[in-house]
Symmetry: none
Subunit: 221 residues, 2 copies
């Protein structure tokens, strides 16, 4: 499981849950401290969003318990805004202390940031293609593809501009870092190699499309 939300306000929990699932995280919700601990015991989590005011064991207690055995990132969320409460939460080992009500975009950004840094995931996905910028690996249906430096740069540039036609001059300038564009062929050859690696049928490219007389564009399958 990716994220465990500990929150007794069902509406709030549901909202965050929806946003997270939309970003493809797997999420569970616990409404009491006890449930949170047992869920964490059984299934673990890669991040915990923890409310302080809970029936039964409160958030501080949950935080303390979890920290006894794990460094899993914990974001405390609370309507308690007193400095003492924040210090208490931080001392107990929470990674962050966010005041209620919070902005959902900020929360999402913090969560995604923790995942990126902690689990080294900075990926863009498009259909069965997944491009991991941090490790510079490309996956197709989960299978890693060996990419050379130039191939990776070229693919990333195209994929980040999905649907947009990029001129050959532009592509060359960005990837080769030069405006000379001496050899037109160089680019077409690299495009060919790229297609051989990521297209199902390199002869009939579906992802990296030629735009005649202009350049190339990346499209979803």
């Amino acid at each position: 499981m990716d994220i465990l939300i500990v929150e007794d306000n069902k509406e709030l929990a549901g909202l965050l849950c929806d946003f997270l699932r939309r970003e493809n995280y797997t999420v569970s919700v616990a409404e009491t401290g006890e449930k949170a601990l047992s869920l964490y015991e059984r299934y673990g989590a890669r991040l915990i969003v923890l409310d302080i005011m809970l029936p039964g064991t409160d958030g501080f207690g949950v935080c303390k318990k979890i920290r006894e055995e794990s460094n899993v990132p914990i974001i405390i969320v609370s309507a308690k805004t007193a400095k003492e409460d924040k210090l208490c939460g931080l001392d107990l080992g929470a990674d962050d202390y966010i005041e209620k009500p919070y902005d959902i975009d900020i929360m999402m950004a913090k969560i995604s940031g923790i995942f990126k840094r902690r689990y080294a995931v900075d990926e863009m996905a498009d259909g069965d293609i997944r491009i991991n910028k941090v490790s510079r690996t490309v996956y197709k249906n989960g299978v890693p593809l060996e990419m050379t430096a130039k191939e990776f740069d070229l693919l990333l540039l195209l994929a980040e501009n999905k649907g947009r036609t990029l001129s050959k001059e532009y592509l060359f300038g960005q990837v080769w870092g030069s405006d000379s564009f001496s050899e037109q062929q160089t680019l077409t050859v690299h495009i060919k190699w790229l297609r051989q690696k990521i297209e199902d049928d390199p002869k009939n490219p579906k992802r990296i499309l030629t735009v005649w007389g202009v350049g190339y564009k990346y499209e979803s399958v």
Copy 2:
């Protein structure tokens, strides 16, 4: 170096610096983005406290540059309180975004928390490899491996950035503490020695992988 403060307001920087030194952190202050980057390149840091409004390259630029090659914790501190600025900072990979003026106790708690979670971990484990930072020993399937200082530093750096491709320049800068990078070969030779110790089959490395034209990365088996 433990903490790099990037802040052009000398008074503010001095204050934080004093508090931190009282807690026995080693601290440096950079007053511009450029200085920050060159200091980080040369000496590294275990945490960066980064102001946004700086003369020259602003904090966002510094953050971006650093994130291109490192997961070092970054706390952004700024008088800019707009949601967009916060999102921008978080998107660039900052661990936290603290508004100015901030409470020094909260800041100290956050810093100490980051150090505890991130560095006060005596051991890190990854599959059958266990790295003990205190004794500077590496275990493979419980069997201790003799590591030289350089080998250990290199392995730890790679392992702490698991999944992230680290450039040769960065690796050299961090382990050899120099930006000269005079001798490319030095690094490759040490990589080879490392592989001989921790890879099952040093000829077919599965943990320390070459990223052609870029550098190396550590991956779980």
